[in-house]
Amino acid sequence: MSSYTPHIEGTHVFDTQMSNRGRALNKMLYSLKDPQNREQFSADEAAYCDKYLLTDEQKQAVLDRDWKKMTDIGASIFYVIKLAAIDKKSMQDLGGVFTGMTTEEFKAELKAGGRKFG
């Protein structure tokens, strides 16, 4: 019996299908580890997305900083973080977005011992 990607409510499980789907987007985000690329991106985000052949949906999610959308359409969270870094957003800021809380609310839940499920 093989163990295909498990489906767990409220959890992204990044697999080869997601990776294929998010290919151009992840490649663009990965490129932001290079400081020159970060400058180029910031100078003209749309043109930079076009250079990496992003689909319209991928590009719009980037321009809108729609963090949830990006992870829904195949961006790996570790790639998304590179864009958050440019915006000086913390992991707690993103956590707030993903869970529909303010950053402060999200931080408070972590400080209180983290969020519990199941």
Binding site: H12, S76, L94, T99, K111, G114
Partner: protein
Amino acid sequence: MAEIIWGLATSHVPSIGAAMDGKKTEDELWKPLFDGYGPAREWMAQHTPDVAVVVYNDHANALGLEMIPTFSIGTADHYDVADEGYGPRQVPDVVGAPDLSEHVLVNLVDEGFDMTVLQELDVDHGLTVPLSVYTPEPGDAWPCKVVPILVNVLQYPQPTAQRCLQLGEALGRAIRSFPKDIKVAVFGTGGMSHQLSGERAGLINQEFDRNFLEKIETDPQSLAEISRADYIKEAGSEGIEMIMWLIMRGALGDNIRRIHDTYHVPASNTAAALALFATDAVAEEGSEEAAA
């Protein structure tokens, strides 16, 4: 012959490195965690290895998604510190141990582990934060050479926990058969429970973590039997990193003793822990061996 003297399990959250780099270790939020490191750091400072084998994962800083190896090993004599988006951490570059890397590689491949060989590698927080946990003030150079072993924990299917434990056992055999009298430490990094994205972001499962922290010493086989799906479900989509502790654990062998551990919530979005184990190559303090 080489011997393995200790194994360190530790979280590798970037913010732990950032707290040290930014001198925030005495801040209210961080003090409990760093206080918890104290006794382990003191003990390790008394028992210094020549080489650290650091089991970790890259976080989109050296490996793109074009090519995702299950297990890889660095064979270079030098590893630059990666720029993770904010410029590289201001810590020393990492000096490799290509002779031990090659020895371990050949032995692992001989035993049927299908390693990927990395001749070049920029090391990210997954490796440098654990080195900082061991040595907070390295000065101009880290106190030991490093053999990096990388694990795919980012893309499903990750290796099974069982396969990780088996790799660790083979890694232990490989290190111990290295024909030079050197002392080796093995680092298992990552964890504990955490999930970064999705509606379950912020998940912490202290019960799962506490059990893992105990069993990693006393019953690693029970942890090796947990399925990937259950790691993700119980410990979060990024908590599955904990399978890397099993590689360290497998390398240590059967006779180990716990020197120290600590558990803290939260470090950034994750539960953080440290657990330090001495092997039977290190005499117990006050024992006859120690006196000999």
